[in-house]
Structures are given as structure tokens and as C-alpha cells.
């Protein structure tokens, strides 16, 4: 991989990959520290998009369109998830009048 990267057409790829990794980490950390469910969902979107960026970057590395194709599907699935997430969040809000994930702690050991 190191070798592959070394032969990469430009340093932009490395930057893109680093960016994607940072984005993923940010998303993950955000997911872990935020309590608002909408924000949490957005964080997962962030992670998905990080993957998308990585795909594009790698597609560039390999000069393969597959990566970009995948991104389209990621976007689609993300949209579907977003729809579901919003539906769910609305449902939950109607129930508990809050968006805090901490409100849902009834089930535990």
C-alpha cells in the first residue's frame, strides 16, 4: 500500500485519504460524545462520507471508476437511512419530548 501510495499520481490523494480518516474519526468521536440524536445521526453521515471520500481517492489511485460508483450508492443508502432516522426521531420525540439519547435507558442489565 505504501508502495501504491508512493506511485500515486499526486499528493492530493494522500491529502484526501488523510482527510477521510480525520473525517471518520471526527464522525466517530462526534457520535460518541453528542447526545442529540439528530446530531448523532449526522455524525454517522460524516463517517459514511469519509468512506465516500476514501473511495473516490482510491478510485483515483487505481484509475478505477468503481470507487465513484460506490459513492453514489453510499449517498443513496445514506439518504434512505436519513429518511428512516428522521421518521424514527420524530416518532421518538413524540413519545418522550426530547431528543437526548440518554432519555432512552430503560433497557439495561
Amino acid at each position: 500500500m505504501i508502495g501504491t501510495l508512493a506511485q500515486a499520481p499526486s499528493h492530493g490523494v494522500t491529502i484526501a485519504l488523510t482527510f477521510s480518516a480525520v473525517l471518520f474519526a471526527l464522525g466517530l468521536i462526534g457520535f460518541l460524545v453528542r447526545r442529540n440524536m439528530i446530531l448523532m445521526f449526522l455524525c454517522t453521515e460524516l463517517m459514511l462520507q469519509a468512506a465516500a471520500i476514501a473511495f473516490i481517492a482510491f478510485g483515483r489511485v487505481h484509475m478505477d471508476t468503481g470507487g465513484q460508483v460506490f459513492v453514489i450508492f453510499i449517498l443513496t443508502v445514506a439518504a434512505a437511512e436519513a429518511a428512516m432516522a428522521l421518521g424514527l426521531v420524530v416518532l421518538l420525540y413524540r413519545r418522550r419530548e426530547t431528543l437526548s439519547a440518554e432519555a432512552w435507558q430503560e433497557l439495561h442489565e
Binding site: M1, F24, H62, G66, F73, V77, E81, W104, L107, E109
Partner: protein
Amino acid sequence: MSTTANIVERFCSLTPELVVFCGSVVVGVTGLSKSRSIRNATSFICTLSLVLALIAMAQNWGGRVSSGILLPTVSLYVGALALLMGIGFVALATGSMDRLYEDALSRGVTTFDANKVFRGEFFAFMLLSICGVMLVPGSPDLIWLFLALELTSLPTYIMVAISRGTRRAQEAAVKYFFLGAMSTAMLVYGFAMLYGSTGSLQFVHIKDALTAQAAMGGIDAVGTIGLIMIMIGLCFKMTAAPMHFYAPDVYEGAAAPVTAFLSFIPKIAGLTALLLVLHAAGWGTSLPQSLQATLWMVSVLTMTLGNVGAILQRNTKRMMSYSSISHSGYMLMAFIAGPELGLPALLVYLLAYGLSNGALFGGLISVERQGQEIEKLEDLAGLARRHPSAAAWIALGSASLMGMPPFLGFWAKLILFIAVIKAGHTPLVVIAAVNSVISVWYYLRLAGVPILSPAGPAAEGVVKAPSAWPRLAAMVFGISVLLLPFFLNRIMNAATAAARPVPNATTLEVQKATAVVIAPTVVDRTHPN
């Protein structure tokens, strides 16, 4: 072969999946009908579509494409299994999931309530999820796999949310959905890494590339990280450590038929996906040691955490969730055993686990109190006196899951242990054996309380569930757990044929074997390719 022809051919080869998909569309519509009789037909339509899909699979409608698919024969077996179990899950859900809304309707309440199950959407989601799991093993590339997995998972989030209309169900849905989304992100990121390392999305190419890398001195870091992340992401689907934490809460919160569904369908999706990924990574020949070690660790952790968690439980569904976790651990052992014996062992284990688990859940679902399902272990006390059949299915399911001979679960575990020992991982089997013993503890409690304990005040008011379908399903599950050991040779043949490494030569054989196992009625009319 031109691309278009290829696409058409492949599309045609998805006939069983398409049948199920169509079924889900139909069901989604009929379930919303104003007419009660049409609504009542929903589950029949469901079952019909599943049976049709089975026939389509056995009769090979639409042909079969195996080029570009790593494990075409496995996809047949898994698909058939998903369909068969799906029929059972439909039956388990019929008359129990949709009662609240039907009761409301019969009282004249017609307002929409997002918290309530509507027949249409519930069964439609169920079929969609089954459709997804059928698609997983046949994935030719990562995109397909990703979509199939999402198709399996996304409907289940909703099924959990609407399963009971209680806060607990919604809480379960929250946890399930958000953690699921996180795991999907990990999975996709892993896909990206894998893509980055190999430069292709096609499994066939990925396999070639990884094999080449392995031959050159090992899979590179990006590829390894990708594989690990995929594995961990899939661990969520199959409730394996460290991604299993959601399972107890979700399984407890969801209604029992959904729990039963969750403990099987997403699990086999995850397992078969892992199968594909590992296969691409050179399973059995050049699987990186890091992956092997991670698998080993994950397997041991999963079974141990599952079992030690279960023995603390007093809630049946929560206990079953841990049990399901531990079985994931056992099944992961099959991956360590390698494809030659491990794969058939895994396939047999899936069948045995599904049936036993189904029998157990069937027993639990076929009794209720004031329209609510039975959750507390104490409530089961004295069940054998009042509802001997329910107690019997629970006991049979427990016995089979704990690996008590001569029930099906024992044979599955036996084959699994044989495979692992043959592969030289005797210590792993010893750990699994100790875990089996720990599991005996809670299975005994589960089997014993209904039979041994006198019915106390806690067990007052426990009655038979009104619908006969769950009882019927439980009976079928239970009897198959009891009787299938007499057909071990056929099961083993089917699994072995499905696991044969050379795909093209054996497709027909698998079909035959699968047909023999799953659809004896249509066996004689199998078409050649």
C-alpha cells in the same frame, strides 16, 4: 458475453429474490386494505411468495449465474434456508404481531398510529429483509454486498420500532438503528480500504489481488485494516463481540417474533458476508494470520461473553439474546476451521441453530398473558402442566441449543467440533466445550422452569395465544429438531455440496441436494441448467 446480456442473465437469475420482493410489494398493499379478509390474507401471501421463491430456486427458474460469484452454491443453501426459516418467522408473527392494531380496528379506531404494527408494512419489511439476506451470498462485488446488507438491516430497524408500540420497543429501535448506522459506516470504511488495497470492487478480482499480495509477502496494511474493519462491521450483524452490546437491549425490547427474526436473519447475512470477504482474502489457503488471530479472539470472546451474560438473566428474551451471541461465537469457530470442513459445518450449524432457536421462540410466543408476551422466567413456571406443548418446544429448543444428544443441535455442534479439531485448533474446542457447559446452566433453567417449578402467583393468567400459527410453527420447528437427526446424511450432503470449492461443476448437485432437503415434493422435476 456482452455486458447487457450479462446484466439480463444475472437479473433473471435473481428470480427467487424477485419473487420475494414482489411478495413484499403485494403484501404492503394488501395489508393496508380496508377489508379485514384481505388483510387477513397478508400472511398467506407472504408465505405464498416465500414458497414460490423456494420453488423457483429448486426449479432453477431464470437460470443460474455463477461467474463472478465466489460461492454460488452457498448462496443457494443460504437462500433456501432463509426462505424456509422465513416461512416459520411469518407464521410466528401471524396473529401475534398485528393483534394490537387489529384489536383497535375491531374496536372502530381507525386513526394512524406510528407505534402500531400494520400488517402490510410489517410483513413487507420482513420479506424485504429476507430478500436482502438471499442476496448477500450471491454478491459479485462490494456494492452488491453493501446494498444487500443494508436491505437486510434497514427493514429490521423499523420492525423493531413498530413491533410492540411500547417505549421499550422504541428504545430498542433507537439503539439498534444508531449503532447499526455506526457499524455500517465502519463496514463501508473497511470496504473503501479494501478497495484501496486491491483496486477493484469485484470479489473475483479482490481475491486475485489479495492472493497475489499474500504470495508477495502478505496483504498490505491498508488491506489488512480494511479486512479487520469489515469484519468488525459485520460483527454487528452477527452479534459478535465487540459489536454485540446492542443485542440484549434490542432483543429484549422487540416483540418476541421480531426477536426470533433478528436472531437469525441478520445473523446469517453477517455470517455469509464474512464468508465472502474471508474467501476473497484467501480463506483456507492464504488467510493472513492477523485475520485468523482476530477471528479466534472474536470467536472466543463472543461465546464467552454470550454465555456468562446469559446465566445472569431472568428475562427469557434477554437470555436468548445472549444465547444467540454465544452461538455466533460457535459459528465463528467454523471460519477458523477453514473452508473444507468448516463451511459445511457452518451451514449445518445455521440450520440447526435456526430450527432450535425457532422452536424455543415458538414455545415462548405460543403463550401469553393479557395479550402481552411472556418475558419473565418466573412466568413460565408450571407451564408444562397447563400448556405442555409449549413447554415441550421450549425444552426441546433448549436441549438442542445446549448440544444435548440426540437433538439436532448436538449433531451440528459435533460436526463443528470435528471440523475445528481436524483443523488443529483443539484448544479452541476446549474453550467452546467449557462454554457449552456454561450454556447448559441457563438452558437448563429455561427448559426446567416450565417443567419443574410449580405454577406460582407469577404464572397466573398465562394462557394460550389466540392464533394457532405460532403454535404450528413451533411444532414444526420442534419436530424437525427432534426428527432431522434421522436425516443427518442428507443435511450433511447438502451442506457439503453447497460448500464445494469448485462452483460450476456442482451447481446442479447442490440444487438437487438442497431440493432434497428443503422441498421434497419438487425434487423430481429439476431442470438441468
